[in-house]
């Protein structure tokens, strides 16, 4: 049975109107509200079980009954299945008891969680018969669409803000994608992409394929629950750019409950992390505002989260409030400090967004918003190798010596052998 038999259609998140799942539609005709894939969970339930999921290869597709494809995935069949790392050394540094890192910095193939959403979107694009695909991106998405697009033989066109990190631009062009730098902010790139889609009808993963695309993020939540022994953590801290991921992780927990995989109700509190230089959603939560105020020109080293007018901002803020969580934002210096802390306690080099998420976690713990004795999962969504510029200034330049023992001793100040267990 094809997994898509369980999809009811695309449902407007504002008015609830249901649209057919057979087209790349992304807004409601009545109120232009965003659409979301809706499933018939009663129909899904008899077809899924813990044993069935666990018997499949360890990647995101083991949960395929809860993903919106008509058939088997044709793009990114090995994406996902990243480690949930018990982070005891980091927990000690933060003064908390139980902490885990969901490490999508090692997601395959392009080292960010975006490979999850892109493999759903591009598999869907192929089901729709699309040949030309693309995206508006702050970097990670660009890398992923380019890599997975090339692996599927699709033509890719990718638009990014012109000031993006060079590594992210090269890491996109290398796959043969047509990369266009746009002199403007991400929100301007995004607006242009919406106009391109309206004009040309290509498959832009985060525009007209967005309802399908966003579903891929749920697999982060499925994996967290499975790796905790099929239960939900008490607190999840998640980075926010467009604001979709945090909602999809929560949706994943709800779906595991709705299909009988996890019997306990979802009581997880969701926390959102942003950089202070681009904090529309955290500002919205902290000020009690109903809707976020867009930020015209973001100023932060955390470019992957620099979306001034997040598409899911309203829903993210609402979810955070409804679950009893909170949102915070942090300075560039705090972001770098947290990147170093994560690297030096757990051996995980996260990109600036990961630094942001960890720095916000630290802040929320210090504020007493996250209790020190409860379970915390921190979502790391991208790899530090892509944003190395951010930490260069914080690192000491290694000193060069001549290849002599004398210089080594002079440099390290070690005259006598140090008492270490004998190596030979």
């Amino acid at each position: 049975m094809a997994s898509n038999d369980f999809v009811l259609g695309l449902k407007c998140r504002v008015c609830g109107k249901l649209y057919p799942k057979t087209a790349a539609r992304f807004y409601c005709d009545d109120d232009t509200g965003p659409l979301e894939v809706a499933y018939d969970y009663e129909k899904v339930a008899p077809h899924v079980s813990r044993a069935k999921f666990q018997a499949r290869p360890r990647n995101m597709w083991r949960y395929k009954e809860l993903l919106p494809l008509e058939g088997e995935p044709t793009v990114g069949p090995q994406v996902g299945g990243t480690p949930l790392v018990r982070a005891d050394r980091l927990a000690e540094a933060l003064g908390v008891e139980r902490l885990w890192i969901k490490n999508d910095a090692v997601n395959f193939p392009t080292l960010s969680f975006k490979d999850r959403v892109v493999s759903v979107a591009l598999s869907k694009a192929r089901e729709f018969g699309m040949r030309m695909v693309g995206c508006a991106s702050t970097g990670n998405l660009a890398n992923s669409v380019a890599a997975l697009g090339s692996s599927a033989g699709l033509e890719t066109i990718i638009l990014v803000p012109a000031d993006l990190e060079k590594t992210k631009i090269y890491g996109t062009a290398v796959y043969g994608a047509r990369v266009i730098k746009v002199a403007g902010t991400y929100d301007q790139v995004n607006r242009l992409c919406t106009q391109i889609v309206q004009e040309f009808g290509w498959g832009f993963v985060n525009v007209n394929l967005r309802p399908f695309y966003a579903e891929g993020s749920k697999t982060v939540g499925f994996e967290i629950a499975e790796d905790l022994g099929w239960r939900f953590p008490q607190h999840v801290v998640c980075p926010m750019a467009g604001g979709a991921l945090i909602g999809k992780i929560y949706k994943a927990f709800q779906e595991l409950h709705a299909t009988g995989i996890v019997h306990h109700q979802v009581t997880t509190k969701m926390y959102g992390a942003q950089a202070s230089g681009c904090n529309p959603i955290s500002e919205c939560v902290k000020s009690g505002r109903e809707r976020h105020k867009p930020i015209r020109t973001p100023h932060t080293i955390c470019k992957s989260l620099a979306i001034g007018d997040p598409a899911d901002g309203y829903f993210a803020a609402q979810l955070i409030r409804n679950t009893g969580g909170w949102a915070e934002d942090v300075s560039d210096a705090e972001i770098v400090e947290a990147m170093l802390l994560l690297a030096r306690t757990e051996g995980i080099f996260a990109e600036t967004a990961g630094g942001t998420t960890l720095a916000v976690t630290k802040k929320l713990i210090e504020q007493g918003r996250i209790p020190r004795n409860e379970e915390i999962v921190v979502c790391i969504t991208g790899n530090g190798l892509k944003t190395q510029d951010a930490v260069f200034e914080a690192l000491e330049e290694p000193i060069t010596i001549k290849p002599t023992l004398a210089e080594f001793k002079a440099l390290t100040g070690l005259d006598e052998p140090v008492a270490e267990p004998a190596l030979v």
Partner: protein
């Protein structure tokens, strides 16, 4: 004063399939009022209780009116006002 309003696909059913409509008006508010006068079906698609719906963004010559003077943003002859769904990105 000639203003061009670009109509997104979800609203074109109300504009007889037109992707662009010529209107007049000295402000965004006035231009949209003229659009609604010509195509009354667009009213409830664009506005909800007198406010622009949250998932429609309005741009004047590619600048979001929330960074200008919102509905009071002044228009000059020949400008393009684009209505664009706000549900993409991220």
């Amino acid at each position: 004063m000639a203003i061009t309003i670009q109509i997104p696909p979800p609203l074109r059913e109300q504009t007889g399939g037109r992707a662009e409509v010529e209107v007049s008006g000295a402000t965004v508010q006035a231009a949209l009022a003229d659009l609604i006068r010509q195509y009354p079906g667009t009213a409830t698609k664009i506005f909800d209780n007198g406010q622009i719906r949250p998932y429609i963004n309005v741009f004047v010559n590619d600048e979001d009116i929330r960074y200008l003077d919102e509905l009071n943003t002044q228009l000059t002859d020949g400008v393009v006002v684009a209505l664009i769904p706000a549900v993409a990105g991220g």
